[in-house]
Symmetry: C2
Subunit: 380 residues, 2 copies
């Protein structure tokens, strides 16, 4: 390990052959043997799932336009993140994942490239693509491809947030559906979080972007924000994020570092729930958040603090489940069931443990189980 993540060591993943290649098996693995597999797929396209890795291979695709919290840094800077994801895919779920970083940020071009490379993969994991482009890209690909497409930064994050919030509400003994929720960040993650929380029945949600509160009638909103403005922020609040925290129950940050102080939290209701999820540096560090007497739960997106609300909890299981059951459409219903299954993994949630660790053995099977359940119901 040593310097991995420090000095790079030329990446964290590699492609290996399942079999040692010898003079004896070369004719079977390579030519002429491989022609038999080709002919099988020629006879029946579906055989590609038996004869190749397609059924267990995911392309992790990014254009580097929204890398972690570091912004638009292009494809090469995105590559370390995609490789780390690929390492997690295999280590946590046994799924083969291939980093594909794209030297274009044109929405149409990304859609057509992903479509073109899709025959070799069983699923597409979109990653670190900036909003609102990511919405159009994922929507089009979901519609046009016959394999699952999942934008991790949207619903991966949203699922874990919902799971964490279910347990956090349990701990502080508040009704999930009545929580006053403030979401800082109205990009890929923020909008998906709002969507999934609304779906689950949370109704008191206000979102903020870098310009302030998102309300109906604000003139500088993109289509996605306009849509969410109609169904959130019922009081048409127009002030700052900090002002809005007064008497709020929940802060969910998917925005930028150091946005929040202990003083901001002090204005929140007793047992404040703070999910400061910006990566690598959260909106507020746990140490600072805990200075507020009314803090109930503090979570971040990082592995080095407790309560890691990170999409790494879901993407390996989601693809394993979808690939194994050939699920193409990952509906909101499935997403909510996954969040509940994740929450249920913690039998006795505590302030320091609202959610499983990314490496916990039970996580992936619990998610895969949801897909199996839906598959069986669908078959009946």
């Amino acid at each position: 390990m040593d310097n991995l993540g420090k000095e790079g060591k030329r990446g964290v993943i590699e492609v290996v052959s399942k079999e040692k290649i010898t003079k004896e098996n070369l004719a079977q693995i390579y030519t002429p043997g491989v022609a038999m597999l080709v002919k099988k797929v020629m006879d029946n396209e579906e055989a590609v799932y038996d004869c190749t890795w397609k059924g267990n291979a995911v392309a992790v695709v990014s254009d580097g336009s929204a890398i972690l919290g570091l912004g638009n840094q292009g494809p090469k800077a995105a590559l370390p993140v995609m490789e780390a994801k690929a390492a997690l895919f295999k280590e946590l779920a046994g799924v083969n994942a291939v980093p594909i970083v794209l030297d274009t940020q044109d929405t149409e071009e990304i859609v057509s490239i992903v479509k073109a490379i899709s025959p070799g993969f069983g699923g597409i994991n979109l990653e670190d693509i900036s909003a609102p482009r990511c919405f159009e890209i994922s929507r089009k690909l979901e519609k046009e491809l016959d394999i699952p497409v999942f934008h991790d930064d949207q619903y991966g994050t949203a699922i874990v947030v919902l799971a964490g919030l279910i347990n956090a509400a349990k701990i502080v003994k508040k009704d999930l559906k009545k929580l006053e929720i403030r979401i800082s960040g109205a990009g890929a993650a923020g909008l998906a979080i709002a969507d999934l929380l609304l779906e689950e029945g949370c109704n008191e949600i206000t979102l903020f972007d870098s310009k302030g509160a998102i309300y109906e009638g604000r003139t500088d909103l993109n289509q996605e924000k306009k849509k969410i403005a109609k169904i959130t922020n019922k009081t048409s609040f127009k002030g700052t994020l900090q002002e809005s925290l007064y008497k709020a129950d929940v802060f969910i940050g998917v925005s930028a570092k150091n946005l929040l102080t202990a003083d901001d939290i002090r204005g929140m209701n007793e047992d404040a729930i703070v999910f400061a999820l910006a990566n690598p540096e959260p909106e507020i560090l746990p140490k600072e958040a805990l200075r507020a007497d009314n803090i109930g739960i503090i979570a971040t997106g990082r592995s080095d603090f407790s309560n890691q609300i990170n999409n790494a909890l879901v993407f390996p299981g989601i693809f394993k489940g979808a690939l194994q059951n050939r699920t193409v459409e990952i509906t909101n219903k499935i997403k909510i069931e996954i969040a509940k299954a994740l929450a249920n993994l913690i039998k006795q949630p505590t302030k320091d443990r609202i959610i499983s660790d990314v490496v916990d053995k039970g996580v992936v099977p619990a998610i895969v189980n949801v897909f199996e359940r839906f598959y069986k119901e669908h078959k009946q």
Copy 2:
């Protein structure tokens, strides 16, 4: 092994993490640790070679338009071949290779897709793309990318043919440059073979396509064939392949199965050299070829006969050498030196051993050594 190559077993390759992921190293490999690698690349793009697998990763790209000798079967049918190549890349040369099969056969689109995905790879291996499209695609990519692009079916095959022919000529005691050579197949491989043999000084070459001899003035030739017609077939021979074999020294087949009979060989000069390289089924099987008394050397492209003239002998070493030395342009000079290095690996060539086996340990180092030599010369 068992059924690999028979039942598929869901492919022959996988992507693995170099390190086992634990609760302890997660923060280093994933977030926040990975952000340090991202920042390094942000500071200096060149750091992508240290911080990711780019410097040792190759995309094996095909559109499935010319799969082995099985024709235009599309991307899914191409996938087993690309996976087998990827397995060879790692097993023989330690290079990470990723199969990318494309759902388009539009030349311009393929060029722009490969350009778009290139930031994540250190080299591009084009594969099983039909002629003449492959020429335009490889030419454009070579020109526009800052990483090596190599179309295996063209010069991979050509290099091994030249290597084999050097030793075959030695065995039958004929002058390489004076050999009367007939090439059956004027696609990717055939044209590249002619080009490299001409470069090495062989002057008596005639090519054939499915319509017959290629001669200057034939009206149905594409640009590439027109070019080669000007510098081959000096007698403007217009007959059939079979007729042309009379008094020829060498038959090189990169065309289709069962084109040749022992009778055809009987018309050739004493110690006829027959390279029947169509895959999976050669132009003539060794057993049949050996029925001709004047046969000197018979070679095929297959691993299950002796004398395997297969580009698998060169592509792993070529990419290892190019990646290690950051060689972008793989010139004809380099290609010829590789062929000579390969030929030289066989100290005492015999009729049954004109070339090394694909799995021989010396093959890749000999090729890498050529790149190192050119790198040093270039540096001086």
